[in-house]
Amino acid sequence: MPVIPINYYIFLSLALFTIGIVGVLTRRNAIIIFMCIELMLNAVNVLLVAFSKMHHVAAFATDRATTVGTEAQLFVFFIMVVAAAEVTVGLAIIVMLYRNIHSVDINFLNRLKH
């Protein structure tokens, strides 16, 4: 009976999430930053699925017909939906910026400050 503690998944997810954050902080290319954000979202997805599974397992012990956990998986689905929409708009913005300044380096975004 393979049992994986939920903490493994939590830590995995946190690690991915953190790597995403570090990426957001360290990179200057807007697209890469955006990709790191996608990485963060995926970390959340993993976590949600894991929790879904965890709750399901807990509920399954008493009720074999339980649907506990479905909502998290659907939530992941919605996250993907939103991510897709975001990507559409985000890439449109990046492309628009690229058209104007021929760069996607966020360090050049310094007209607005102070």
Binding site: I6, I10, S13, F17, G20, V24, A30, I33, F34, I37, M40, L41, A43, V44, L47, L48, F51, S52, M54, H55, A58, A59, V68, E71, A72, L74, F75, F78, I79, V82, A85, E86, V89, G90, A92, I93, I94, M96, L97, N100, I101, I106, L109, R111, L112, K113
Partner: protein, 456 residues
């Protein structure tokens, strides 16, 4: 529910108006009719007439509070359309698309007005945010606008990530996305719930531009075309606050003692940073961006206190703040030069507009007999009622005093200085009339806030 569906449909309608007519005026009129219609159906829902009977499995539920909030926001949008319609028309080649985006946002706000599930919160906020990224960048040939859009987008997505992480942890703890479910359970915070709460606090603070998550605000507000800054800073921000309030009331109400210190810190930081940084600004637009942070600080007090005064006060605050800010932005958007000096001697050239703007500024500064005073009054009352955080109230009033400093620089420019700019401005009679109307609404609410708060 009425409002969600109607505004979404109207958004679609707006998309097609662009094909049907090239006359931008017509588009504006259609949009105006639309927001009126949404306002009416929303009000009808408040009165008990619901056109759609959809089982949302409890993910959306409207009570009086939410509907009144929605009414206030929609009414503000109406004022916004009336005052800024012309500017929206000028903002892009196809105003119909921009109007459509605004209607989608309204639909998102209506979701926020009634969410009972973290899922709806998430979707609602995204429906609000994604069109906003676009609106921020709608002045495509302006690099500032581009920059604002990208900054807003990157940071907004990042905060979405934070929020989702929070939601995930909450789910992990509670096994449900329903707010009541999160609030249920033991009285103490488990680590997971605490983590989720802090992450949600951070991301919601981001949405309402509370310090130290506010940094996007000045840049984005400054870069965004003025007409949309106005929308962003008022209506959208109100929605953010409503979501914040509702989330923390319904999902973490039981743990108020646990998050209150954090909330107090955020509120105090927001007040201090917003107000103090605004002091130095030379551009009215940027000053207003900081002021919107400052005002957010005051609204944070409501979230911090989370009692009956806070809820009444938030509604009043939304109305007072939104209408006043929309009014000021509407005038500002007629200016090419956004520096304070551009307003020199404004009162001599356009006394009526200046007077209406004065009322708006006084309201923002919280001077009595304007709605802004009672809004702040409620916030302070809420904080003091809470008991142990009198220092927060003191910080708030000191910041309010600082705010007078920068708001009144505009007043000084308008009233006490000699005209220095040659810029000729035209204000149509209808604009002046509507602006005056907005000022009168502010005054009426300032003398009799019961008209609004009594509804709760």
């Amino acid at each position: 529910m009425n409002a969600i569906i109607l505004s979404a449909l109207w958004g679609v309608l707006m998309m097609y108006t662009g094909f049907a007519t090239k006359n931008t005026r017509t588009v504006s009129v259609v949009a105006l009719l639309g927001v009126m219609a949404v306002l009416v159906v929303n009000w009808m829902e408040y009165l008990g007439v619901s056109f759609f009977n959809i089982d949302t499995k409890g993910m959306l539920a409207y009570n009086g509070f939410g509907l009144i909030f929605n009414t206030v926001v929609l009414f503000s949008t109406l004022v916004y359309f009336l005052l800024s319609g012309r500017e929206i028309e000028k903002a892009g080649k196809s105003p119909s698309d921009l109007y459509a985006l605004i209607f989608f946002i309204l639909s998102g706000i209506s979701i926020i007005a009634g969410f009972k599930s973290l899922l709806m919160l998430f979707i609602g906020i995204e429906i609000i945010s994604i069109p906003l990224y676009v609106l921020a960048g709608s002045d495509k040939s302006n690099l500032k606008s581009n920059e604002a859009a990208l900054k807003y987008f990157l940071m907004g997505s990042f905060s979405t990530g934070i929020m989702l992480m929070g939601i995930a942890f909450l789910y992990g703890d509670a096994g449900t996305f329903y707010l009541e479910g999160v609030n249920a359970g033991l009285g103490a915070l488990t680590p997971m719930k605490a983590i989720g709460m802090v992450l949600l606090l951070a991301s919601m603070s981001f949405k309402v531009s509370a310090a130290p998550f506010h940094f996007w605000t000045p840049d984005v507000y400054d870069g965004t075309p003025t007409v949309f800054t106005s929308f962003m800073a008022t209506i959208v921000k109100s929605a953010g606050f409503f979501a914040f309030l509702k989330l923390f009331e319904a999902a973490f109400g039981k743990f108020q003692a646990d998050w209150q210190v954090l909330m107090a810190v955020v509120a105090a930081l927001t007040l201090v940073i917003g107000n103090i940084t605004a002091v130095f600004q030379q551009s009215v637009k940027r000053m207003l961006s900081y002021s919107s942070i400052a005002q957010a600080g005051f609204m944070m007090l409501g979230i911090f206190a989370m009692n009956i005064f806070a809820k009444q006060g938030m509604i009043l605050y939304f109305a007072a703040y939104s209408i006043a800010t929309i009014g000021i932005f509407a005038v500002l958007s007629k200016f090419k030069d956004h520096s304070i000096d551009a307003f020199n001697g404004f009162a001599k050239k356009h006394p009526l507009v200046a007077f209406s703007m004065l009322i708006c500024i006084l309201s923002l500064a919280g001077i009595p007999l304007t709605a802004g005073f009672f809004a702040k009054y409620y916030m302070l009352l809420a904080v003091i009622k809470d008991g142990n955080f009198l220092w927060l109230a003191i910080v708030a009033i000191l910041c309010a005093a600082v705010s007078v400093y920068y708001y009144f620089r505009v007043v000084q420019a308008m009233y006490f200085k000699e005209p220095s700019h040659e810029e000729e401005l035209e204000f149509s009679p209808s604009f002046r009339f509507i602006l005056l109307g907005a000022a009168i609404i502010i005054l009426v609410l300032g003398i009799h806030p019961d008209y609004l708060t009594g509804l709760l």
